[in-house]
Symmetry: D3
Subunit: 252 residues, 6 copies
């Protein structure tokens, strides 16, 4: 395979690739119900990054395993054990250091492949602050795997259960299907239950009420998830992300 | 009128109200096209806060006039003059200090009435950090005026131009209508033009490309805005926000 | 009137004024005895800013409603409810962001009109740090309404009660007179009592002793305050501040 | 195998293990000469953590892939491409957040398995600050794989080339042998050359002189490295680390 | 002598004194004209602390040699070589750490003897923040040597040149006299010249104009300074400071 | 003597020396057993700095009296009264400000003479961060008095008691001998006892166990210390440090 993982190459090999795109996958350690492991976002971010790198010759940096605080209505929130929450400023400063270092090494096309929604505001803040410092020659792009999904695919994926909106797609059909495709050995299929989606409040409240989220941590049904649906998402989204990179970076 | 603005009352009067809800309106100084002033979010946040206070006997704190960085596809972004952007950590620390002070004064029902979308991640981070420090007896609630709007009202408001989604409703029908209702003397009606909504990219890119946003700063059409539509929003949303406060705080 | 409030103008109008001075008023929310509201410093800062803008064609930015911690012997201190204290570093970073943004928009004559004594050290620190970063072409000026008052005027103002020194002129003759002139509806005239001035200690002590400050929060007598005295201050100080601006900025 | 990787288990499985030790491996992305990949410290930290977990039933948290700044005379320093350096305060705050979160989840025996020397001062600072906050019931232990190595083993490992001291054992016999044992596919054996060890200065100098470190980035000879030597280190050190954990934590 | 300097005693001797007052002198390194060395504030702070300790049995901590930024009109400002300026937050955090450590060692009567005016706002901020953390049992007091000076003494000191106000008493009669008394070998008497006092502006301006301050750095005349005047200040102020300590701490 | 202490010279004299080296001594306030005062590191750092200045014409800045947290196995740790610990970031920021100021004054050869081992990581971090900001023309050097000591001298010094390694040489033969040479009046000779060296653990543990360190705070025997041994260290090390300065700075 031609995916160049930064962890596997020497400094000389890394130096020789600096005209390529560098992809930084960003995940989290966060409860994903009784049927999925804590690493869902990390695995998905890393696998998308690798597949994109195979398509584009990009270099893949080590995944960010720890992410910003889980919010109740998009990830179950901070009350679940195993949800390891960074403060926003910690994640932001981590990104600032990493982006600055990649740029200092001569990489000026950096794609942050995010798979944990809550990360985004603090990653963007870091991108903005780094951009002011390193100047316009360094291009930084942030995306994820759900925003590029077209309407049509949503209909195909939600043929059995209704689409609850992306915020509630936590440990539900799309993430479960992606994990069945990427890492089936980590999915406890017998623990999947068909539950109605949470009706989330249209506000944020602190302290987070203990009974806001179903005890299992699942926000919507994972019923009808299949590895085939996971593959369908991947096969649709990877080319769209490649197009996006080409549009923003000019060349790959 | 029975709205108790914190700026107008003495310290003794403020002290006597501490069983009431305290409302902190949060706005921004941000370009809003050629037909609206820089203070749109500030005026709207403050007026909703006052109307809610009249309904609930709440105390209104001085509005936060300066907010977090405008994002290109929900506010036009940082390249427009007059868009005054705070860094995320600055806004966050400002909120931390204020929430801590209100709680220290004995107020334990605090409602942050936000009218600038980009503020939310950093306000929530402050709420979380303060909540850990002051403990569960202090209840903090964050909402805005658009999330409670029901589907049916959207249809009424967008009878002429299509609803472009809330992110693009910047200087468009809803904000313009609210300003025509709240502060008609600040609306340059003759500068309203009927433009198609921006087709925003599904990613974030830095540096922000100079040609991403229409030169005027408007993200969707403000055509068909009326003070009546503004009133309709207010009359629908205020009771819904009051219900929300009652649900979260138990009493008002 | 030709006062250009930043909140009322569009981004294009703001952009067209950038050769003018930008005035940033700085106040606080702080107890001011039983006869004055919490917003005294904010109202006074804002009104002086507007009057100066009318004289000079300057643009007025939204007032900073929240200021640095009240000190016992110049504002009554932190123990009074309604005194909302920012940490020094919070105010400093807020100023840093704002001054940086105004300068980035092309404004290089910035006047900070302060009306809360305690703000000054942290505003100056921000001015210094911003000046190092943006370079010498951006001129920043900090003043207030009491330092320019000439000896002769002091004698006129304190015709009945003795002048206790500026630190103790908190909720006393000058601030009360200014409020009677600027916002008479906010003054509880019947709550004014003739008290002798506090004899303040010549040191700072923490924790602040609970009995250091009179229970009412007034540090010196407000007796003999009149709107005419307020007008006298304004009519004297505004031209002096205008001269100061001219001296520092070269042109207005 | 009975190694419980936090990334592979669900939140309920993680919650059920909280009486166990939690091991947090800490590595870096740092040049390791022409024969080893950038991830040496990360692989070694992670593998030791997993082996220890198999011996002790501990839970393994995701490895910290990014570490503190490489120093010239223990890692080649910041001038090599591919050496991705975090600022000290960034690493420190990352540790503070993680240790706080693990403790909040009920884990009170935390072992930080470090494989990047430069990390240590900032990890210890985080341990100290967290310890003050969470109190004495949470025990935190920091060690690495080299400090427990007994004199006798050093003689066995350095049978061909001389032992240059631990600081210079960067990309040299011990790290190369460990990588040949743990991940032989990542070692470019043909790129190993027999060089004399660097004679490091007994001081620190900034800016780092460009010619201080050999162009290859290797600080001492990796000649005579073998997978058997790697296994010898592992078989010696793992029981010693297990003893250390037992001594500090009381039980495993 | 019975002055207990913390630097001279062992940890056991220090521990045995913890019911006493601890005095922390605070100075600066700042230009003091052509006739005085850079250490004026440091020497004066340290000597007052020692004299007070002799009177009260207090323990003296090592002096803070570096202080907050010199301001033009009270110290000559940042443009003079040899004026070594700490940022406000640096001084503040230094004080926070020190006060916290002294309190943790059981000292709950701490007197900060300041001799550099500009330090005060940031020392007070540290006192406030530490006080909130360590609680009301720790009493902290900040004073200096000029605020206690009575009117009558001023007349005696300024028998030849006029009193320019305390802000301008920089490298002038009082500081020069104190240095002639405390450290005559450090005074270049032949470099004293009789200059009129600076007429300072009643505002702060950045960047600081290069010609604001006389080239020599002296803000008012040091003419007529004598060691006797220095002794007079000391003999008057030390008992007043002792009284102040007694009043605030209850016992010494 | 021709040692130019920054505290003793005027700003004009300081300015005239800026082609010279500036030496910043760094010590600590830390328990040093029952026979040595808290200021050992400070005295030693300052005296080495002065001797070096006499040899090289360097300017000596005021010593840093307060240092980073004492570690148990190199200084006895935080549990001893009189050990005054700065947080790492506080020391780092103090250094950043000082190095920046010296460089701004035109000094571009700065030698940090450290005598407290624990300071080093945070001083180096400051050096690195300042170096990036001020550029390569400013040379900064960090050393101490123990790293240059040659093997042969160690044998001479440890003729009676065994050399326990540098980490444990705390309040032991070398520091005690240096203090007997530099400041004999501060050594309580009768309190010296001949104890076996601590056997330190090969890991770091928090909270620090109360019984880890001998009650006296001494980590190894000070028995056989003499002023002659102190002189021997000084006479050997000063020329080696001078050579080091010459090598790094090119000229003195």
């Amino acid at each position: 395979m031609n995916c160049k993982k930064m962890v596997q190459i020497t400094w000389q090999e890394y130096d020789a690739q600096k005209d390529r795109v560098l992809i930084l996958p960003a995940g989290s350690i966060e409860q994903h119900g009784p049927h999925l492991p804590l690493c869902v976002d990390t695995v998905i971010a890393e696998r998308f990054a690798e597949l994109l790198a195979e398509e584009t010759g990009a270099v893949v940096a080590p995944v960010l395993s720890y992410g910003y605080k889980s919010k109740p209505c998009s990830g179950g929130g901070p009350l679940f054990p195993g949800t390891i929450d960074l403060n926003g400023i910690t994640l932001q400063n981590l990104l600032i250091d990493l982006l600055t270092e990649f740029a200092a090494d001569g990489y000026n096309k950096i794609f942050i492949m995010n798979a944990h929604f809550e990360n985004e505001a603090f990653i963007e803040e870091a991108m903005d602050l780094v951009s002011r410092r390193v100047g316009p020659s360094v291009h930084m792009l942030l995306s994820n795997w759900w925003d590029p999904i077209p309407e049509g695919l949503i209909d195909q994926l939600f043929d059995v259960v209704p689409f609850p909106g992306w915020a509630l797609e936590h440990a539900a059909v799309t993430e479960t299907s992606l994990m069945m495709y990427f890492a089936p050995e980590l999915v406890r299929v017998d623990k999947i239950s068909n539950i109605p989606p949470l009706t989330p409040p249209n506000y944020a409240e602190y302290p987070v009420p203990k009974d806001l989220i179903p005890e299992s941590g699942t926000l919507a049904s994972a019923y009808s998830s299949t590895a085939e649906k996971g593959k369908l998402i991947v096969d649709t989204v990877v080319p769209l992300l490649k197009d996006m990179m080409l549009r923003v970076f000019g060349s790959l």
